[in-house]
Symmetry: C2
Subunit: 424 residues, 2 copies
């Protein structure tokens, strides 16, 4: 296999510029939710060029929508397809899913961006733009590895199933649709931005919406009303306390370097529509992290119970309890045994390329790995070139050198996992 590895590496070394250009084009098509079509068109073109067996479909059928793990507030998927491209093996080898999501989160406050969020401009080895790190850079690493194997005419025994899915950022409906369409494999790699760390376990998460009541009044006699923002702040404080309690229970050593293994993020607050009025309703939305060994339903119950306890601190909540909705995003946690051969194969490839052992941790965020493993029963590991810290942030970027390194490690893992088929 040494010979194949050398050929593949040489090919990738010579084609860095093309891979960079592909990433640039993908970033420039800012594929926020509902606008994934143009970026997927670039992926489809690339898959055709590689001669993969293409499967392009609009998700959203009844089987998907009625599935217990389906969780989305999106009504229409028309024109924004899922894409799968299969590189068929000769048989008798282990198959591998390579999964990347094409959707990106919104660019947020434009003023914080030094350049157009969708410019894809390059400076000092970094390619900037929303989606560069999360996770179009990872997807390009997958395609670069596959292209190198195809271009150097290596035959694999096992199938490689490349997936470019929508809806990861909103709860994984795209990957769930791929599982329900029948895609299975002996293992899967998702190159989310891990800073080249390996995450066999992933934090799951869910979105929640808390509605807090107040009583309106004229601002000049604000003492006649009850400010919903003031009560909303008590809800936020309560959620902060719940976060402390939940994290104090985490003992898994994979989390030892993570400051808050399962955070509760307050992502949105919205209250009031007139500066001179006391607002009578406050809506708080956020995300609660789920530990790899937790059940989604148990986490929901714990948060709801915690907010019910508010009535002990403030009598207002006895008469006007908060209401909790679980809406939109929902990512099942992932939990791969650290002795699993998929993990050890990836670790060996890493060691070989980098000359040192990888950092193995639990991921601080949910991924589509939860759906692949818990619903598809596929062993999953998360490993990618993106910069964890800048995902979802202004001035998001990826270090191009890390992209090429990860492609190298992934190519090596493909060759080891799927095995090279020799005609002689």
């Amino acid at each position: 296999m040494e010979e194949e590895l050398r050929k593949v590496r040489k090919w990738m070394q010579r084609n860095r510029v093309h891979a960079t250009r592909l990433l640039q084009k993908l970033v420039q098509e800012g594929s926020v939710r509902g606008k994934e079509a143009a970026a997927q068109a670039i992926i489809i073109e690339k898959c055709r060029e590689l001669g993969l067996q293409l499967d392009i479909w609009e998700i959203g059928n009844k089987t998907l929508m009625n599935h217990p793990a389906y969780c989305s507030d999106r009504k229409d998927y028309t024109g924004n397809p899922n894409v799968v491209g299969v590189l068929k093996g000769t048989g008798d080898g282990k198959s591998l899913i390579l999964n990347g999501h094409i959707d990106v989160v919104p660019e947020n406050n434009l003023a914080e961006w030094k350049n157009d969020p969708f410019s894809g401009f390059i400076e000092e080895g970094r390619l900037y733009g929303r989606g560069s790190t999360d996770m179009k850079g990872g997807t390009v690493a997958l395609l670069l590895a596959m292209e190198a194997i195809i271009a150097t005419e290596i035959q694999l025994k096992g199938d490689v199933i490349f997936q470019s899915v929508i809806e990861e950022e909103s709860g994984g409906a795209g990957t769930l649709a791929a599982v329900l369409r029948g895609y299975r494999a002996d293992g899967a790699i998702i190159p989310e931005p891990t800073n080249l760390k390996i995450f066999p376990k992933q934090q799951g998460s869910m979105w929640f919406r808390v509605t807090v009541k107040g009583r309106s009044a004229h601002g000049g006699t604000r003492y006649e009303g009850v400010n919903a923002i003031e009560k909303g702040i008590l809800v936020i404080n309560q959620l902060n306390e719940l976060e402390k309690v939940r994290n104090s229970r985490i003992v898994d050593p994979l989390y030892k370097n993570i400051p808050i293994p399962i955070p509760i993020n307050i992502g949105k607050i919205h209250s009031g529509d007139w500066p001179s009025s006391v607002p009578d309703i406050c809506i708080i939305e956020g995300r609660i992290g789920v530990a790899p060994d937790e059940k989604m339903s148990a986490v929901q119950a714990e948060l709801e119970r915690s907010l019910q306890e508010l009535e002990k601190k403030d009598i207002w909540f006895k008469d006007y309890p908060t209401t909790v909705e679980w809406f939109g995003g929902r990512w099942i946690p992932g939990d791969l045994d650290i002795e699993h051969p998929l993990l050890t194969t990836l670790e060996s490839s890493y060691l070989e390329v980098m000359g040192s052992s990888p950092v193995v941790e639990a991921s601080p965020w949910g991924t589509d790995g939860g759906v692949l493993s818990k619903i598809g029963d596929i062993p999953v590991v998360i490993f990618g070139p993106g910069v964890t810290e800048v995902a979802h942030d202004a001035n998001e970027y990826i270090v191009l050198e890390d992209l090429f390194t990860s492609a190298d490690i992934i190519a090596s893992t493909i060759l080891r996992w799927c095995e090279v088929s020799r005609s002689d």
Copy 2:
């Protein structure tokens, strides 16, 4: 004058149903900002019926917009006029402005309303709906008093200048336009909802917008970012402290029954657009009360200084100071001497009708009285039938009996102030 008073009262007693119907029609035309036209059309029709000298004009000329007291973010006043109707006197009497605003605040959370906010339905002597108390009920009391005087063919010496203005709720541009158009008088009554109390002094107020910065990050690694909502809560706490400090300085006995003489109301908060992201900006809007003896500019400076002090409590604000804008609403405080003859005339009328002395206080909110007195140099008193506690609230209502009582007191005040002209 006893004779005239008796005739006027008798007439009003017999025409209660018509006045009630007029209020109902005015409430049903929900004249929120930018939609004042239909309610003003009803006012115009009534003024024509009374034979008043009508002046109907769209405000917004350069003189208004360039005036230092002008403060509005509204760009277009087309189709939503100010209305003035003058009842000319025979001369040699004191003139009186009767001022009511036609604009109402938004209905807010519809779920809190037992009925349609613009139904005007009546139950147990209360007429319900947005604007019933603040302050279409007061305006109807003015028109009822004027109609009674006109219908009983009483001639006054002084002019009565009835004004139905727009934009009170957003800072008084309508009344400022009337002052700049030349309307002056020896006194003015504004029947804002005072629970039949008399307010010679009025709290002024201003709107502010504070922009608070954070640093965005993925919610799963929220510790990599800085949550703008968390920093926004510190800003709210600081404003609460400022409110305490400012109110501890109020010693005017007129404020002795008011829990918070000059409140700071947090009316709006808006932050974040994705539950899984740490929000990087938080916008807080509110209203700060201004004491009758305070200068608007000094209050602005005090709030800004207070927020600058946040950097001593949290180093974040040193690098990312908040920014403060003074936008939209702005009501100059009013301050009438408690020995002024306008006030004593109103007090005598009250005593005569009610058989007891009125409660004289300082108002807990700004009114157009500030503009009339500080810009127009017109002595102003605030006195009206509405229910202070339900202004701007869901299920706003007015007690119809109070409306008729106030019309009685106002009619009596008109006769005393403007004086009856006798041909014999």
